[in-house]
């Protein structure tokens, strides 16, 4: 607290000042096209009221979840295996590390070639994007396990498969959680990018979703206010997804210190 003023008040000072500045400068510019906070707010209300925005968000989010599930089902078991066995890691790692620097969006043209401009391509892109942070963090979490924990299980005579289930997985869970959060952020960015790019190439028709909606507003109507509403929506959804995931992780790991 600075000089007795609560932190959240100080935090709001800058954004509010910027908004006011934007409104003032924008109005003075006397250009009908100019987006203004007031117009953005009005557009937002309208887009939510007629269901346009919620529908688009739902579409994008559904794809993200689908792709996310696919990625998790592949990446987590693989990460556990690679983290636990040096041999497996050494053999699979070249493949993972070769593709990791290639961002999901770069694969998009290939995905479109293979799957067309529909939902399958979108899910593929999301899964690809989410895969790498998940696998990397799962490996790190598995490697970081205190070896005494595994030894303790061994000295209790616990068989190997049971140990994997009852010791390895719970011990790696915090890192897997970190991976999930990063993957979620990456997945959401990827879907917006994919929808945007597909919208740009498919000429506005096709897949739907927030990204594509944004492009439509740019290409067809140049409705900047609506574009900004979409941008804010992108940010809000990203934030909400992260919070939901954090909550879910806290429930799944009641023992974690935080």
């Amino acid at each position: 607290m600075t000089r007795g003023v609560p932190r959240w008040v100080i935090g709001l000072m800058l954004p509010i000042a910027l908004l006011l500045l934007w409104q003032a400068w924008g109005s003075a510019a006397n250009n009908v096209r100019m987006p203004l906070p007031t117009k953005v707010a009005a557009a937002a209300v309208q887009m939510v009221a007629d269901g346009e925005l919620p529908r688009a968000i739902l579409q994008s989010v559904t794809r993200v979840f689908a792709g996310f599930m696919v990625a998790a089902l592949l990446a987590i078991p693989l990460g556990l295996a690679m983290g636990h066995s040096r041999a497996i890691e050494r053999n699979v790692d070249p493949l993972v590390e070769s593709f990791r620097p290639i961002a999901a969006i770069a694969i998009l043209p290939l995905a479109i070639l293979w799957f067309g401009t529909g939902t399958s391509a979108a899910i593929f892109i999301v899964a690809y994007a989410a895969f790498f942070p998940l696998v990397v963090n799962t490996i790190a979490g598995t490697k970081r396990i205190n070896p005494s924990l595994l030894q303790a299980a061994a000295t209790m005579g616990i068989p190997r498969f049971t140990t994997i289930r009852t010791v390895l997985v719970p011990a790696a869970l915090p890192s897997i959680g970190v991976g999930l959060r990063i993957a979620m952020g990456v997945a959401w960015t990827a879907i917006v990018a994919a929808e945007l790019a597909v919208g740009a190439k498919a000429g506005g028709g096709g897949s739907g979703g927030v990204g594509q909606m944004m492009f439509v507003f740019y290409a067809y109507s140049i409705e900047l206010n609506r574009i900004i509403v979409c941008m804010i929506a992108v940010g809000l959804v990203a934030f909400t997804l992260d919070r939901l995931l954090r909550g879910a992780l806290r429930l799944a790991m009641p023992w974690s210190v935080r």
Binding site: N146, S148, L149, Q151, A152, A153, A154, T155, M156, G157, I158, P159, T162, T166, V167, P170, A171, L173, M253, P254, W255, V257
Partner: protein, 271 residues
Amino acid sequence: MSEAVRLRIEHAGKRFPAANGKETIAVEDVTLDVTQGEFLVLVGPSGCGKTTVLTMLAGLQLATSGQVLFDDRPITAPGPERGVMFQDYALFPWCTVWGNIEFGLRHGPAGAGMNTEARAQRVRHYIELVGLTGSEEKYPHQLSGGMRQRVALARLMANEPAVLLMDEPLAALDAQTRLILQDELLRIWGQDRPASERRTVVFITHAIDEAVFLADRIAVMTTHPGRIKALIDVPLPRPRDDRTRALPEFQALTQQIWNLIRDEAYRATVT
């Protein structure tokens, strides 16, 4: 009164191939018997191989020469009959106190044939024995060091092992808690019961006074290469308590052991 030998180490050695192509000899030509109900303590400077001896008894590592036997059978793998207490307790962070103590019974052979109620009974018994009643639902991160040590001990004993192998279990505690837990350890072990009714213990420590306080016999180890320098009996009467520490025999034994170790310990601080 002679009790049966539970653990026998005969001319055991452990070598490792080191990174630079040479070999490291952790221990060499160790011979040691541990009888039923005996409390044996290994002391020595850092690197003398005490932990290696323990891990060989635990079955976590295998000797590269000689024999390591439990009840006259070679030790080839870890198992619940030779329970281990680790220096960092190795409590499962995702399990409560109850969950940790129950773990070996729930998932391992020690609990074979036990139904939920039978397990619960045993867990409750050991929670009471170590003095943790009321903390069953807590997680390890919510516990103090002394409490964690008790959980580790209870978890170990819930499997009712014949042998307890302990690797510096009190090392992470502050000096005051340490003294208290030394008393507790002897109580839980059953120091006032006859040897045939007690568990056999092999205990590692750096602290000489701790060794003398707890042990029936002390194996003093030396380093480079690791081997047993001396086996010293500790004839102090049981049950032992604070007054034991004031006895002149206690001081004499402590001094004797320190004299055996001092030079090596000094050298370890300057190299």
